[in-house]
Symmetry: D2
Subunit: 145 residues, 4 copies
């Protein structure tokens, strides 16, 4: 029996993954009806593409996209999911800005789930978009993400 | 006039990007003839998916794929390039292992370049594969990556 | 100076490409403000995955996605564009149905444009989704698509 | 118990799918050891991007990529597989040429398989490349592809 994750449980999952903790994601909104998860992420110096540029490197953006898409499905299924694959398109540079990330479930199948992830800057411009597929076959408790 | 980057110049570029420095990539082989770039990356605790699991989170893998593919083209063109988009497929978990990353140029066009990136564990098994396209229109010196 | 294409001009372009004519796309709506292009496509026997199954093969779906995304940008720029790359995710089988395809421009840059494409069945269910990037550097008249 | 498909059985599968028959694929080589499938495809007028241009439209290329990648895995598993998603990168125009398509299995997992597909022109130049994932959970006989 699967059980949804609420905002606090998502935050706990994020905290207990060393890499996600390093990304420092904050859960902003969990919407089970729309099947969306919204997260905010402040800039940190280690994310910079060039020193003192204030520009996000694409790597953290991709990592955030993968993770937030994962838990948009995961919040419905009660656990994080293995990523099958994902695509990232960079639309414009993200400079001197925090990020808001909105992941929307496009398909929740028995074996595969698909999510779209938009990444916005402080001016509500889309800086990057992701599309990801995850394995939704639920794992046993001992190998949960 | 473009000028190739050698191993030391690539290492310098990696060092001067805060995020790439954090990834801690070591240039292992630059092959201009085969148009391949090989990099090694040791595990570090912040890369872990779960604490003490020894398993790489997918985020660092994706970030490494993007970066090494970028500089496989970039070493031929003399500078890092803006990523247009990329895809990552995770083939098997990477656990208790360092990584060897081999990026191969598939196409070097005037406006778009394409690279394939394979990520191997210590047993030479492929753990993840990437395919990425980059903008090859050369930028002026002041906005170099 | 670029000039937009209207519905009739799009239909002409579709007609003069042998492959697009074979796909048999009908322009349903051109919306410059929302930057969306909506097209309908009836089933035809050659599209079937298995004889008499009524199920669309994925190939025509992918071809339609590529084409409609292309002209969502192309209608703004006055000509079809070379596809750089695209991704298709199949969400559910398309069986005994015509298709409605909605392409939305996500980014119209000087060298690269990005479109999202949703494919719907007669019950307004999404059967497949595409994401595609195109080269927006305008070609000279003689090598127009 | 799965049973491999040989070249004749693949040809039969191709023939019995209306869409694949229309693509007119010829099996050239089945290599179980290397896990590769090689197929040739002659140009036909309906594939043209523009009338009398001799240039392949990207749609047939994408369709061929999806199909050959599918049966590179399918020949090992005894049946065609549902495509989860795929990516196509167009590297150069394919003009006045037949095509040779080589699909290589990158991963054959219990639930997901991944294939790389290269498309070559008559001069052995790569014109397009694909990467695709398929659902490898075997279906029961009555819903085989």
């Amino acid at each position: 029996m699967t059980q949804r994750l609420d905002a606090q449980q998502l935050a706990d999952r994020f905290y207990h993954s060393p890499f996600i903790r390093w990304l420092n994601l904050s859960v902003k909104e969990v919407n089970y009806h729309a099947q969306t998860l919204t997260v905010t992420v402040p800039m940190r110096p280690e994310f910079e593409r060039k020193a003192d540029s204030g520009q996000w490197h694409g790597g953290p953006l991709a990592s955030i996209i993968d993770t937030v898409g994962d838990f948009a499905l995961g919040m419905l299924l009660g656990q994080g999911l293995p990523t099958i694959n994902f695509r990232v398109d960079y639309l414009r540079p993200a400079i001197h800005t925090d990020l808001t990330v909105v992941a929307t479930v496009r398909r929740l199948g028995r074996t595969v789930g698909v999510a779209d992830i938009d990444v916005l800057n402080d001016h509500q411009q889309v800086v990057a978009i992701g599309r990801a597929s995850y394995a939704t076959t639920l794992s046993t408790p001992e190998d949960k993400k």
